[in-house]
C-alpha cells in the first residue's frame, strides 16, 4: 500500500477524500506528507496540522517542508497553513470545524494529515476509531481531505478496522483518481459517470511520466468498458510516443475484465498482478 498525496485529487465535487498510507520508514512518511501538503497549496486548498510542543520531530511540518520550495511563514500569513493545538486537532468535532473554517475563508478545500502514532498518544484506540469515523463523514460531506499516516509496525485487528474506514480500502469506496509522479492510483468503481475524471487523471500522470507510467488498480472494485476505453484513449498519445503503461495489482474481477479485452496482449501495456 503506498497511497501518497499529489497536486490534484479527482473526487466527487463538493466532497474530499479520506486516505490511508502505511509508511515503512520516516523518510517514506515525510515524502508522502510533503507531496500531500505541496499538493494542497498548489491546488489552492488550505492545510491544517498539529505538532507536539518542543523541538520539531523528524516528520513535523517544518522539517517536512524544508527544501520543498514552500515559504512556510508566508503560507501562514496567507491563511493557507494553520497550526492547531493538539487537543483541538484530535477533538471529535475538529474535522467539521476545519471544513467550515476553510469554506468561511473562501478556500477551494482543506487538507489535513493525521499521524496515527501521535493521535494514539492523545486518544485511546476506541476514541481514535471514533475520530476516524467522524473524519470519514466530514470528508464525504465537505471539501475536506485527510491523509492518515500509519507505520508499518502498526498491527492487529484494530488496523483492519481502521483501514476499512478509508477510501479505496472499504467495501464500497467512491471513485477516486490520484495522479502522482509517473503513477496514478485508482479507487472505487469506474463507469460512464466518472470515466472522464479517470481520463484526465491518466493524461496528467502520463504528461509527467518519463517512459513508464504506473497505473495502480489495486483500489478498483469495478472497471467497466467505459473505464477500459479511457485506459486506452487516455494513454494513447503517451504510448504512441514510446511510453509504456504498467497495469498494477488488479483485483480478480478487474483482472478478468482486462483479460477479456486482451490488455495482456495490447501493445504498450503490461499487466502485473499482486503488486505491493
Amino acid at each position: 500500500l503506498g497511497v501518497s498525496g499529489a497536486p490534484r485529487v479527482f473526487a466527487r465535487s463538493g466532497s474530499g477524500v479520506h486516505l490511508m498510507s502505511v509508511a515503512a520508514s520516516e523518510d517514506d512518511q515525510r515524502s508522502a506528507l510533503r507531496r500531500w501538503i505541496v499538493g494542497a497549496l498548489g491546488a489552492g486548498e488550505g492545510f491544517a496540522y498539529t505538532e507536539p510542543q518542543g523541538a520539531p520531530t523528524p516528520t513535523s511540518v517544518s522539517r517536512t517542508l524544508a527544501g520543498s520550495g514552500v515559504d512556510i511563514d508566508r503560507a501562514h500569513r496567507d491563511g493557507l497553513l494553520w497550526q492547531v493545538p493538539m487537543a483541538d486537532f484530535y477533538a471529535v468535532n475538529a474535522p467539521t470545524m476545519l471544513a467550515a473554517r476553510a469554506s468561511a475563508q473562501g478556500l477551494r478545500g482543506m487538507r489535513i494529515a493525521v499521524d496515527a502514532r501521535q493521535g494514539l498518544q492523545v486518544l485511546d484506540r476506541g476514541a481514535y476509531l471514533e475520530f476516524e469515523r467522524q473524519l470519514g463523514d466530514a470528508c464525504a460531506m465537505s471539501p475536506l481531505s485527510a491523509l492518515c499516516q500509519f507505520h508499518a509496525d502498526a498491527a492487529g485487528s484494530w488496523l483492519s478496522e481502521v483501514s476499512s474506514m478509508h477510501m479505496g480500502l472499504g467495501p464500497s469506496s467512491p471513485f477516486l483518481a490520484i495522479p502522482d509522479d509517473d503513477a496514478v492510483f485508482l479507487f472505487g468503481e469506474v463507469d460512464i459517470s466518472n470515466s472522464d475524471q479517470m481520463s484526465e487523471a491518466l493524461r496528467l500522470a502520463a504528461s509527467r511520466a518519463d517512459g513508464l507510467l504506473h497505473v495502480n488498480l489495486s483500489g478498483l472494485t469495478l472497471l467497466t468498458a467505459a473505464g477500459c476505453r479511457v485506459l486506452v484513449e487516455g494513454t494513447q498519445d503517451y504510448r504512441a510516443g514510446g511510453g509504456h503503461v504498467l497495469l498494477l495489482g488488479a483485483r480478480p474481477p478487474v483482472h478478468r475484465v482486462l483479460t477479456l479485452l486482451e490488455f495482456d496482449q495490447a501493445p504498450g501495456f503490461t499487466m502485473v498482478r499482486n503488486q505491493e
Binding site: S172, P174, E189, D191, I192, S193, L222, T224, A225, A226, C228, R229, L231, V232, E233, Q236, P253, V257, L260, L261, E262, F263, Q265, A266, P267, F269
Partner: protein, 322 residues
C-alpha cells in the same frame, strides 16, 4: 468414411454429426482421431460423461486426447468462444498444427439454455473461423430435444456421417440463424411485480443501482458473491449502453429468486440490429473499443437478448445457479 479428405489444408471447419447409435458415432470418430494423430493435430473432447464413456476406451489406443469439462466451456456463448480460442492457442503452443475437437454442445435443459446452444453453434461459424480448429459437433438424435435438433441442423456448414462428409444443404449463415432465434420469451417471473425498479435511470444513479442489486441479491439468492459481482458488471454495461446510445427515460427492473436474477433495461430508442453484437472478443488494439461493453456483458451474464416493443428497446439479462 471420408471425413478427413477435404480439410487436409488445415483450414478451420465446423461439422455436424447426427448419429443414432454408439456404433455410428465411433465409426466416424475413430478414423477422424486417427487421422489427426497421423498429421500432428491435437484432439479435444468436450462431451458429457455418457459420451466420454463411449469414446475414451476406444480412443485411448489411438493417441493422446484431451478431455475438457463441458460445464466449464458451455457456460455462455461468449465464454465458450473465448475458451475454444484459448484451448487452440495452447495446443498450437505445444506444437500441434491444428486442433480437432469433438463437441457435445450443451448449455442446459431450459428454454433459455437451449437457445444459448443455438447461439453458440451460430456464432462459432464466425468466432472460431480464423482459428485452425476443425470441430465436429456430436448430436445423439435419440437424446436431443426436437427443437434443438432441427435448429442445430442449420448451424453447420458441413455434415458428416458414416458414409461421407458433404456441404450441408440446410446450412443457414450465422446472422440469419441468430435472427431466426432472437425472439426469446420473457421469464415467467416477469409477470410479477419487480423486486427493484428504477425509472429514469441516470449515469450517476448507476452506483445506487449496483448497491441495491447487491443488497437484494445477497439476501434472496443462493448465487455465490462472484456470480453476483459478474451480473452487476454485466448490468452496468447494458444500462450504460442505454444511457449513452438509447433515448431517455431508461427503466431498469430486477427480479430476484433463490436461483436466478433477471433484469430488464428499457429505453425509448430504436436499439440496434446486429445479431452478432457482443459475441466476439473486442480488443483494445482497435481504437476506440467499440462493442467491448456488450462483449463483457455477454461474458458476465448467463443470458442476454434484445427485443423491440411499443415500450421501446429492451435488453433482458439473467444469471442462474448451475
Amino acid at each position: 468414411m471420408n471425413a478427413t479428405e477435404k480439410t487436409g489444408d488445415l483450414a478451420p471447419a465446423h461439422d455436424g454429426l447426427f448419429y443414432s447409435s454408439d456404433q455410428e458415432l465411433l465409426h466416424v470418430v475413430v478414423p477422424f482421431v486417427r487421422d489427426a494423430v497421423t498429421h500432428n493435430e491435437a484432439v479435444l473432447v468436450v462431451a458429457s460423461d455418457h459420451t466420454r464413456e463411449v469414446l475414451e476406451p476406444v480412443l485411448r489406443d489411438i493417441g493422446p486426447v484431451e478431455y475438457v469439462n463441458p460445464s466449464v466451456v458451455f457456460r455462455r456463448t461468449a465464454t465458450a468462444v473465448h475458451t475454444y480460442r484459448e484451448l487452440v492457442e495452447k495446443a498450437l503452443g505445444r506444437g500441434a498444427r491444428r486442433v480437432r475437437a469433438l463437441n457435445e454442445v450443451h448449455f442446459g435443459e431450459t428454454l433459455h439454455a437451449r437457445a444459448e446452444t443455438i447461439r453458440f453453434e451460430a456464432v462459432a461459424n464466425v468466432g472460431l473461423a480464423a482459428h485452425p480448429l476443425w470441430h465436429v459437433c456430436l448430436y445423439d438424435v435419440r437424446r436431443t430435444p426436437p427443437d434443438l435438433l432441427s435448429a442445430s441442423a442449420h448451424a453447420h456448414p458441413y455434415v458428416v456421417s458414416a458414409d461421407d462428409r458433404r456441404p450441408n444443404p440446410e446450412y443457414v449463415p450465422p446472422v440469419e440463424l441468430l435472427r431466426r432465434h432472437s425472439q426469446i420469451p420473457p421469464y415467467t417471473i416477469e409477470a410479477q411485480p419487480p423486486d427493484l425498479e428504477f425509472r429514469d435511470l441516470s449515469a450517476v444513479g448507476l452506483s445506487t443501482l449496483r448497491r441495491a442489486i447487491q443488497t437484494t441479491a445477497s439476501a434472496a439468492t443462493v448465487l455465490p458473491q462472484g456470480r453476483i459481482d459478474d451480473f452487476i458488471e454485466a448490468l452496468s454495461e447494458i444500462a450504460s449502453n442505454s444511457l449513452v446510445h438509447g433515448e431517455a427515460p431508461v427503466t431498469t427492473r430486477v427480479w430476484v429468486t433463490q436461483q436466478r436474477i433477471v433484469c430488464t433495461v428499457t429505453d425509448r430508442g430504436n436499439g440496434f440490429d446486429d445479431p452478432l453484437a457482443g459475441f466476439l472478443p473486442a480488443s483494445p488494439n482497435a481504437l476506440p473499443v467499440h462493442g467491448s461493453g456488450l462483449w463483457l456483458a455477454r461474458n458476465f451474464s448467463d443470458s442476454l437478448d434484445f427485443s423491440t416493443s411499443d415500450d421501446g428497446f429492451t435488453a433482458r439479462l439473467a444469471c442462474w445457479t448451475n
